[in-house]
């Protein structure tokens, strides 16, 4: 089960890359590793999620004794578990997933609002690879930027469809202003074009989705961007 009730009492000890670590019963391997200061690449994980979507397929770890790597965000820790975060097959899957994401992600460099804080950049650095998806070709035909929302713009050319914006909005307001639309390769995050009225104002004060976007696909238009 993913982390539901964080029972602080029973501490579990396990090892990450042969280093001892502790966590709570019911905590996911990803949450526990991050808490212990071990970085595992991830995009879609949102702290406090009851049901992590496990969509980005980056947080792979090898649990010793299991046939193949598993997503750390949906694997609960158990006492005495040996977690390996850098095995060859883990790295191969992570690099492959990153290449796929980069192949549909427009690299804007300095013009990107997330330049420097972009999680894709961080993950690429962590994995020791560049931002070129070779041998995959880039599939970045330009999609128009959505400016219909009064305060927030959405750039589908940057979006990695992690769904963090959708979940944080639902968690805070329970009335989501942002949702996934379409299916398959054509899936897109869309902001409801909230007109004047309470919800537009709500967005202006909240902006949680912008803060939680790992790649700068959601851009606040309230203050001029640096």
């Amino acid at each position: 089960m993913p982390q539901t009730d964080l029972d602080p009492a029973p501490h579990i000890t396990f090892t990450v890359d042969d280093q001892p670590a502790t966590g709570h019963r019911g905590q996911s391997v990803l949450a526990a590793c991050l808490q212990n200061g071990v970085y595992i690449p991830h995009l879609c994980y949102l702290e406090g999620d009851q049901h992590p979507p496990a969509a980005c397929r980056l947080c792979f770890v090898q649990i010793q004794g299991q046939p193949q790597p598993a997503a750390a965000c949906t694997t609960p820790i158990t006492a005495g578990m040996h977690v390996l975060t850098t095995t060859a097959s883990v790295r191969q899957l992570q690099k492959s997933a990153l290449r796929l994401l980069l192949s549909v992600h427009r690299i804007d460099g300095k013009r990107c609002s997330a330049n420097g804080t972009c999680q894709l950049q961080r993950i690429a650095r962590h994995l020791g690879v560049g931002l070129n998806p070779r041998p995959l070709p880039r599939l970045t035909e330009f999609k128009p930027i959505d400016h219909t929302h009064p305060w927030i713009s959405h750039d589908p050319n940057h979006c990695v469809l992690c769904g963090r914006c959708v979940r944080i909005c639902r968690r805070i307001h329970d009335l989501p202003q942002v949702a996934m639309t379409g299916r398959g390769f054509d899936t897109q995050v869309r902001l409801l074009p909230a007109g004047p009225g309470p919800s537009g104002e709500l967005c202006r004060q909240c902006l949680a989705c912008v803060k939680h976007c790992p790649v700068g696909a959601l851009i606040s238009r309230i203050k001029p961007l640096a």
């Binding site: 191969q92 899957l93 997933a97 996934m180 899936t187």
Partner: protein, 648 residues
């Protein structure tokens, strides 16, 4: 749940069954002749409604005392519309007629029913062994099949519960209600029934997990969201014998202690939906669905839920999400639906065929079921065999039957004296197996080991004219369109693979493409979130494994060995064989690419030709002058003479 006296349940059931038998017998007596027309969707597509109407008119017109009823699908798609005529006074057994269109139907009424000539030239076979005409059991198709799940398909009226009750239908339910719920699970466990939806998970184990899961409310979902291209087993079952599925659902619900059951059917199956709803209403009217079933104190509400046709909703977690009203998108497992399913209640999700296998097992016992099939995969497998076979259709064969036997004996082999090339098993998630693996026994484990999978039972047979790269492209295109878009590997990875395959079929493959297919394919298999993504690349990886030479030919020589990829082929006319003055190919060419040479023979302009192949099929067989070659450069150039400009 407080169960009442077993004797009372048996008494209630006996009354129902007796009334049903009497009603069926009374109806049979009223008419001297009984005619049955197969009107499942497959039959209707072949014109069974017209046949049915023509029979009705002709019988009324000639004042013949015959009863014409609609039944489901016998599984013999190649012979639709199928008509069964039982005319006891003729001294003949029930006769099965094939390909009966409206005209033939009128003819049968006139010659057989009125004048007594059974028109044996249109006969497929007699349904019972007899001295006069060959019976169906003399045919491989019938005698190598073993019908358990499909036992009543095409022989009983699916819209009449009495027809099912009269054949001891719901008897297994009545018997089970007299025993503790554990007895049902134990029987299913002992029978070794494995889920027929594809993965082959032991059904008994799943039921026990749900039974033992905490919580008082449990749910049973019958998964009829059949989406594989070319697969229609579930549809045929629901349209032909909905009560057997319903009885299976009731047995399952009783075993796991569920009070609510849901049948998830695609909205594209309107007839199945209608017949299911009729079945539920009829069963409820007889106290077989609803409160205190057969007076036992066991309650079950059964609903039909219509899915909107997303392929991924056949995956159990996506199915449950879509019932709950969310986007039909899979979620990571665990938690499995057995502990955390619909509305967070413990939920059994079983395929139609799994549930339909339950009543026969409960009626005949687990040893009987184990005596069929193999040790690890007992029972039968249902396949919809389509593609290049002489007798496509639904077949139910014991597990462990060899592929060769199924394709060449039961389904009559490959038509037009073509060579067998590959068989695609398990739909878009399955694999392509070559001729060398034809002696593989059909069971869950052997097929998985070979890189294919049992799947829900789609089987496409392909002959020498099929290009394996194109087949892989086709299935990947399907998967790519049906991907829900949630996880990276399936959403973007399959798109890249599709791009590679598309350029290979156009002859634009690049060095390194094969490695890209293999490496990315393996990553998608390992990294995807749900079963759809994990198995999406099976058609690519298996065809790459077994037909690598064909991929190489596309990549290196820009040649399609099967001659199926149009950009890689060319047609030309063999001037030694072409007959002077024959203009057939000129007339049939849709783009005026065929011209007349100075010797009055014909040539094809490669610039204009769209490679439709019409000229090749039109060329009279005594000349057989049109040739297809790949790569296109191999076609000799024939100059179009000045005098024979386009259009002259």
């Amino acid at each position: 749940m407080r169960l009442s006296d077993p004797a009372q349940i048996q008494h209630n059931y006996a009354q129902l069954a007796a009334a049903a038998r009497e009603s069926v017998a009374r109806q049979a007596q009223r008419h001297s002749i009984n005619i049955r027309v197969g009107t499942a969707s497959c039959g209707i597509a072949a014109g069974a409604q017209e046949t049915f109407a023509a029979l009705g008119e002709a019988v009324a017109h000639r004042k013949i005392n015959a009863r014409i009823s609609q039944v489901g699908c016998l599984g013999h798609c190649y012979a639709e519309p199928l008509v069964t005529i039982h005319h006891p006074q003729s001294g003949l057994p029930p006769l099965l007629y094939a390909n009966i269109d409206a005209d033939r139907a009128r003819m049968l009424v006139r010659y057989f029913l009125e004048q007594g000539d059974p028109c044996l030239e249109h006969l497929l076979a007699a349904l019972e062994p007899n001295e006069v005409v060959p019976s169906v059991m003399d045919f491989t198709r019938f005698n190598q099949e073993k019908r358990i799940v499909m036992r009543h398909c095409g022989t009983i009226d699916p819209e009449r519960i009495d027809a099912y009750l009269a054949l001891d239908g719901y008897g297994a339910l009545a018997a089970a209600l007299c025993r503790p719920t554990d007895a049902v699970i134990e029987t299913i466990e002992a029978a070794g029934l494995r889920g027929r939806g594809g993965a082959g998970y032991p059904t008994g184990r799943k039921w026990r997990m749900v039974r033992e899961a905490p919580g008082r409310q449990k749910v049973v979902i019958c998964n009829a969201d059949e989406g594989d291209p070319g697969a229609y087993m579930d549809r045929a079952l629901l349209e032909s014998d909905p009560h057997q599925v319903l009885e299976g659902i009731l047995l399952c619900a009783y075993a796991v202690g569920a009070g609510r059951a849901l049948i998830y059917v695609r909205a594209e199956y309107p007839l199945a939906v209608k017949r299911l709803q009729t079945a539920i209403v009829q069963a409820a009217a007889r106290g077989l669905v609803g409160r205190s079933i057969l007076g036992s104190g066991f309650d079950l509400q059964v609903q039909v839920f219509q899915g909107s046709g997303a392929f991924v909703c056949g995956e159990e977690t996506a199915l449950i999400r879509s019932v709950e009203g969310f986007r039909g998108i899979p979620r990571p497992r665990p938690p499995y639906p057995a502990s955390h399913g619909l509305d967070a209640l413990p939920t059994v999700v079983n395929n139609v065929k799994t549930l339909a296998a339950v009543p026969p097992i409960m009626a005949n016992g687990s040893d009987w079921f184990r005596s069929i099939g193999t040790r690890e995969s007992p029972g039968t497998a249902i396949f919809s065999v389509v593609g290049s076979v002489n007798h496509p259709g639904l077949v139910e064969i014991p597990m462990g039957t060899r592929l060769r036997q199924l394709i060449f004996e039961v389904c009559g082999g490959i038509p037009n004296r073509k060579q067998f090339k590959a068989v695609q098993i398990g739909g878009p998630s399955g694999g392509c197996l070559p001729e060398t693996l034809l002696d593989l026994p059909i069971d869950f484990d052997s097929l998985t080991a070979a890189g294919a999978m049992m799947g829900s039972g789609g089987m496409v047979v392909m002959d020498e004219d099929t290009c394996m790269v194109e087949v892989a492209r086709f299935f990947l295109d399907f998967i790519q369109k049906e991907s829900c878009g949630r996880c990276t590997f399936c959403r973007i990875g399959t798109y890249h693979l599709l791009q590679v395959l598309q350029r290979m079929t156009r002859g634009e493959g690049q060095p390194g493409d094969l490695d890209l297919l293999k490496d990315l394919g393996r990553d998608i298999q390992m990294g995807s979130l749900c079963g759809l993504g994990k198995t999406a690349v099976n058609p690519v990886l298996t065809s790459l494994k077994y037909f690598q030479a064909e991929y190489q030919a596309h990549l290196v020589e820009k040649r399609c060995p099967a001659g199926a990829c149009r950009p890689l082929t060319a047609y030309y006319i063999d001037l030694d064989k072409c007959a002077r003055g024959c203009d057939v190919c000129v007339g049939c060419c849709p783009v005026d690419a065929v011209f007349t040479t100075s010797t009055r023979k014909k040539g094809i302009d490669p610039e204009l030709c769209v490679r439709c192949g019409e000229c090749m099929s039109a060329c009279p067989s005594q000349y057989d002058a049109v040739r297809k070659v790949s790569p296109p450069q191999r076609a000799p150039t024939v100059k179009r003479p000045e005098s024979a400009q386009k259009g002259t």
